[in-house]
């Protein structure tokens, strides 16, 4: 791209050929007022607010739609520019209600802000103002359509970013209204971004409606916990109460967006049935007690069971979004007390790969590169419902590149698939292996003889050759392995195929993981095969064994195995049967109060400091935005005190930072040894009973989301998006 030289308000600037005046001005921190322009959306040029004065042109022009040219002299504040901006402002205000005092956008409204600079005190418009009927867009988004200024950002977001046109501008002229086809709830999993995009108070967040004024809010930076991307957020709170969660810009992770799940899950903390005090079960009845009593009982029971069974009959299960500090301390505690049974992978069936792969992350390339892939192969990846914001990156790449999928379910995609294979779930590995066969045929020098031998019985059809060729021939290609594979009985075979296919084709690859902190849990050593940072460990029981075989005692850290595990039935039975179940939880509702014997109230995710490690291996630490309610305490503190009470060494932490620093030090000392996967044993037959037929839904993945009221009222809450029952038979 060439450069041109221009001048804005006397400032000499260099700009890319083809860029618009407004982009160049934004980069130089020269403010031009705007409503319809948004850097992530196409140019609509309909609000006409960004009019600027270009010396060579006879009239003011919109900065958003006027490309720069060599020698252009631009003034954003000349009389001509200001006059144009002011007149547009007047048009926008004539039909806008004067209800700022009761508008949720008040104080953070682009129209309000600009009207201070460009509006008049007294309106010259004396006719009646337009009134527009509000639309019902569902439980997440409140509407006040009379306030709409028709910038169409929300419409373009649907069309361009989501890729599903739900909203539109109907009618014409002054009667244009923004809405959906007949009133219907928005179905997108990232719909609520239109709240941020709306420059006025037409679209606001329903759950936080009328709860606070923008200027009363304090904000704390944090990390969203529900998927492995680790979206950056601001938690907005007032007087210790979370009011809302909004995206914090991070081009590498969430850009300027946030999934609805990450945005509204906070409601579990503010409106869920919280556990406020420690409680112990006495003759089947819950009794609130103080921390001292509860912790003494926990220590007594742990000592009793662990001591009496050489650690074999006790075990710790962790949720997917406990903080790295919590999982590090849990494994340290458990192992210190003489027990090696610890795991967080309650949806895993295949543990044969334990100890293999990288200790650092599931991805060998940055997620943001998904934007630029010429070819992307999805393997059992339901991105829209697992990591919604990664789906929009793949969608972006399909503007020029291609996407392909080997998904054993009828997925919902917001991008075009150029190839789609839909094997039965039990045939996933076979189908996928055929692509490796095809790749090997084209590039025969890479696979080992042993690998070729392994593949020898598998035949590649034309479609497998097309997929393989596409990966080989594309300059930027990648393979994205979905969360579903983590639950597959041949997960390790599939991982080996992925690794091999990446080697043969030159594609990058990575696997998505459950929840927000699978990577952190693994690095912290919350697995039976390795201790912190991939260190050696005495092998203990994995999640499947702990759940299916049953134990005398369980320590549950922010998880509900009776819902989350693929063996949920066995989990419930064995938890009910166990002599002692200790639950570190934030909530009182759910089955946990039936099977637990001690419940310790821990802080929710925005109430504690901690660190999440995302799927790319980014460590993201955060502080508590608000204090946990009543007697609830951050999980890491509870675990630290337990360590003290068990007389374990190395539990003298004064802050969570000391915990993570300790782990970090060990981790940094370990090089990233990737233990290459070995050629797996021959492919066995998988019974159709051994595969996931109904996945955890979008809003079912963890205890917090399950208690987020508004999310539970959306259409996506009631469906299991990758339900295998919908699979077409092939």
């Amino acid at each position: 791209m060439g450069k041109v030289h221009i001048e804005i308000n006397g400032q000499k600037l260099e700009a890319e050929v083809g860029s618009m005046i407004i982009e160049v001005a934004d980069n130089a921190d020269i403010y031009i007022p705007r409503f319809c322009y948004h850097k992530k959306l196409s140019v609509a040029a309909n609000c006409r607010m960004c009019m600027v004065d270009v010396a060579s042109l006879p009239k003011a022009v919109p900065a958003c739609a006027t490309p720069v040219a060599e020698g252009m002299v631009i003034n954003t504040k000349s009389d001509r520019a200001i006059e144009a901006q002011k007149s547009v402002m007047e048009f926008l205000l004539i039909n806008h209600p004067l209800d700022c005092p009761v508008c949720d956008q008040g104080g953070e409204c682009e129209l309000q802000d600009l009207s201070v600079g460009y509006g008049e005190d007294v309106s010259r418009f004396t006719e009646g103002k337009r009134v527009v009927k509000d639309k019902n867009l569902g439980p997440l988004i409140a509407t006040d359509m009379t306030r709409c200024i028709h910038c169409t950002r929300c419409v373009r977001f649907g069309q361009e970013i989501i890729g599903i046109r739900e909203m539109g501008a109907t009618g014409r002229g002054e009667h244009v209204e923004i809405g959906t086809f007949i009133e219907s709830t928005l179905e997108s999993e990232i719909s609520a971004n239109i709240i941020d995009l709306c420059p006025v108070g037409a679209l606001t967040a329903k759950p936080s409606r009328f709860k606070a004024r923008a200027w009363e809010l304090q904000q704390t930076t944090s990390i969203a916990p529900h998927d492995c991307l680790g979206s950056n957020v601001y938690v907005h709170h007032r007087r210790g109460e979370i009011i809302r969660v909004v995206p914090r810009e991070n081009e590498d992770i969430n850009e300027v967006w946030l999934s609805d799940r990450d945005r509204f899950s906070y409601q579990a903390l503010t409106e869920g049935e919280r556990l406020l005090k420690p409680r112990i079960k006495n003759n089947g009845k819950w009794q609130e007690t103080d921390w001292q009593t509860a912790l003494n009982l926990v220590v007594k029971e742990m000592k009793r069971i662990i001591g009496g069974t050489e650690g074999k009959e006790f075990g710790a299960l962790l949720g997917n979004n406990v903080t790295t500090e919590e999982s590090y301390l849990t494994q340290k505690l458990i192992r210190g007390a003489g027990c090696n049974n610890i795991d967080f992978r309650m949806r895993r069936r295949d543990f044969s790969g334990d100890g293999r792969g990288s200790v650092r992350s599931g991805f060998n390339f940055p997620l943001a590169e998904l934007d630029n892939m010429d070819a992307t192969l999805l393997v059992a990846a339901d991105l829209r419902h697992e990591q919604p914001l990664s789906a929009i990156r793949v969608r972006r790449s399909t503007g020029f590149g291609s996407a392909m999928a080997i998904n054993p379910f009828d997925g919902e995609y917001n991008f075009r698939l150029d190839e789609e294979l839909q094997p039965k779930p039990e045939m996933l590995a076979q189908e996928y292996a055929a692509v490796l066969v095809a790749a090997d045929a084209k590039r025969p020098d890479i696979l080992s003889a042993e690998a070729k031998e392994w593949l020898s019985g598998i035949k590649a059809e034309e479609v497998h050759h097309r997929i393989a060729s596409n990966l080989i021939e594309s300059e930027n290609a990648c393979i994205v392995v979905g969360v579903y594979v983590q639950e597959h009985p041949q997960a390790e075979v599939i991982n080996w195929i992925s690794e091999s296919l990446a080697n043969v084709t030159g594609a990058k690859w990575g696997y998505m993981t459950q929840g927000g902190n699978s990577a952190g849990n693994k690095i912290a050593g919350a697995v039976p095969s390795q201790s912190a940072a991939g260190g050696k460990a005495i092998k203990g029981k994995n999640a499947k064994q702990m759940i299916k075989d049953g134990l005398k005692g369980y320590l549950l850290v922010n998880c509900e195995p009776d819902v989350e595990s693929v063996w949920s039935k066995e989990a419930l039975t064995n938890l009910e049967k166990a002599e002692c179940v200790i639950a570190l939880t934030s909530y009182v509702d759910g089955r946990v109060s039936e099977y637990a014997d001690v419940m310790l109230p821990i802080a929710g995710c925005y109430e504690t400091s901690g660190t999440y490690i995302n799927v790319e291996g980014k460590w993201q630490s955060f502080t508590a935005a608000v204090k946990a309610p009543d007697e609830a305490r951050p999980g890491w503190k509870v675990l630290r005190v337990l360590g003290n009470l068990l007389d374990l060494k190395g539990f003298e932490y004064e802050s969570s930072k000391q915990v993570i620093d300790e782990l970090r030090e060990v981790f940094d000392a370990v090089s990233d040894r990737r233990n290459a996967r070995k050629v797996p044993p021959a492919l066995g037959k998988v019974s159709d009973k051994d595969v996931t037929r109904e996945s955890l839904g979008l809003y079912m993945v963890d205890p917090m989301v399950r208690r987020a009221k508004a999310l539970q009222q959306t259409p996506k809450a009631s469906t299991h998006p990758i339900s295998i029952s919908r699979v077409k038979t092939s």
Binding site: N46, R48, A60, V88, F91, L92, R172, G173
Partner: protein, 423 residues
């Protein structure tokens, strides 16, 4: 001389038939082209020489427009005809479609040849059922004779022509709104650049001309650009169809030479209805500013003369108004029209047209205020030049015209709460 170009079949019995069209020399230009006697460069040269200017209202030189089309660019290119005919006062294209459809078809085929385009769309407004039927029959006739379709007249040149119907939206007369409408969307104009010649229908290079422009082409090529130019005035070549309506005895379409004195045109149209005194003329469709009759009587009917007088020749829709006409009422009708027809995309037009319409209607109801007129003037000024398409200007210009020449009628109504004219 009249009816020499677009209406040259009009004197015949079934002027719309292929037979009638062929009898006046129809399809001879196409035959010349197919026979290799007229290259695409030569066609454009002749058009440039003819000084044919876009008949839809903007008056852009047609030859120049055709030369912008990247004929050597690979891939689809489109020839689109604007038969939307929505500018109030205009009814000429409807008669071309009804009475001489083949000439339009031939013009579009030639355009396809010149631009290397194989598909054309003729966009007609949704109410044009009768013209649609005529066009469909004519297309069938032309196909059966090998003038249209695959391997035209045995050559390697293919051109398919489809009629497309709108469904009621003035804005679709704007060429990019029309393109959007063919694409099955709301008729909302696109921001330019890119212009249709680079990014038009389905994102491909597209040439959009008015019905009368395309229909003029076969005759120009038959008789020569110089001949056409000589019919009119320099820079204003040929004949032009004027749709004359309003307070006159013999309203209708008149194809006359460009530069014909208005007085002659008025006479052809039978003069003032019932012999009343004329007051004013809207010379080029409702978006052209009104001109008092004494100014009009001194003008010739061509782009330059009308432009100099402060209005526009536009689409050639001449609305004649006699002394019984209340200008405030006229302004209310006009403002309401643009209010109804704004597409709603740009803030100034969406909000401003409603504002102007409401103020004028309030004055008409007798609730006007002294400050209203300055405010109207200001609102009109603020809309102009601030919108994506020309509809903003189209809505503002007539209001400014009414205020310029007839402000006293508005003032009278504000003060006396009744019309100066009608009492």
């Amino acid at each position: 001389m009249a009816n020499e170009v677009c209406f040259r079949t009009l004197h015949l019995d079934t002027p719309w038939s292929l037979e009638a069209y062929e009898s006046v020399g129809g399809y001879s230009s196409l035959k010349k082209i197919i026979a290799g006697k007229l290259t695409h460069e030569k066609v454009i040269d002749e058009l440039k020489l003819s000084a044919l200017r876009g008949r839809g209202g903007a008056g852009f030189p047609t030859g120049l427009k055709w030369s912008f089309m990247p004929r050597n660019m690979p891939g689809n290119k489109y020839v689109v005809c604007n038969s939307d005919e929505g500018e109030p006062g205009t009814f000429k294209d409807r008669d071309i479609l009804r009475y001489n459809p083949h000439q339009l078809i031939e013009g579009m085929i030639i355009a396809g040849y010149v631009m290397n385009a194989e598909v054309g769309y003729n966009y007609m407004r949704g109410e044009f059922y009768e013209p649609y039927d005529r066009m469909e029959s004519a297309i069938a006739e032309a196909k059966s004779k090998g003038y249209l379709g695959q391997k035209i007249l045995g050559s390697d040149f293919n051109f398919e022509l489809h009629n497309h119907m709108g469904a009621g939206a003035y804005i679709c007369g704007e060429e990019t709104a029309l393109i959007e409408s063919i694409e099955g969307k709301k008729g909302q104009p696109r921001f330019k650049p890119p212009f249709p010649a680079n990014y038009g229908l389905f994102g491909r290079p597209t040439n959009v001309n008015n019905t009368e422009s395309y229909a003029s082409v076969p005759v120009i090529l038959e008789k020569g650009g110089q001949w056409f130019l000589d019919l009119g005035k320099p820079n204003n070549g040929g004949t032009k169809i004027f749709s004359v309506s309003g307070h006159i005895n013999n309203p209708g379409n008149f194809e006359v030479n460009m530069g014909t004195p208005f007085a002659d045109l008025l006479e052809m149209a039978g003069g003032a209805l019932g012999g009343t005194k004329l007051k004013a003329v809207i010379p080029g469709g409702s978006s052209s500013p009104i001109l008092p009759i004494d100014i009009m009587m001194g003008l010739t009917m061509d782009y330059d003369a009308i432009g100099k007088a402060g209005s526009m020749l536009g689409s050639g829709a001449v609305m004649v108004l006699d002394e019984t006409t209340c200008i405030v009422e006229l302004a209310a009708i006009t403002a309401h029209f643009y209010y109804e027809e704004s597409c709603g995309q740009c803030s100034p037009c969406r909000e401003g047209t409603g504002w102007m319409s409401r103020v004028i209607n309030r004055i008409l109801k007798g609730d006007g205020r002294a400050e209203d007129l300055d405010n109207l003037e200001r609102v009109a000024t603020n809309i102009m030049g601030r919108t994506i398409c020309a509809l903003g200007d189209a809505a503002a210009m007539p209001v400014k015209g009414f205020l310029k020449h007839y402000r006293h009628e508005f003032e009278y109504m504000i003060e006396h709460k009744r019309s100066l004219v009608k009492g």
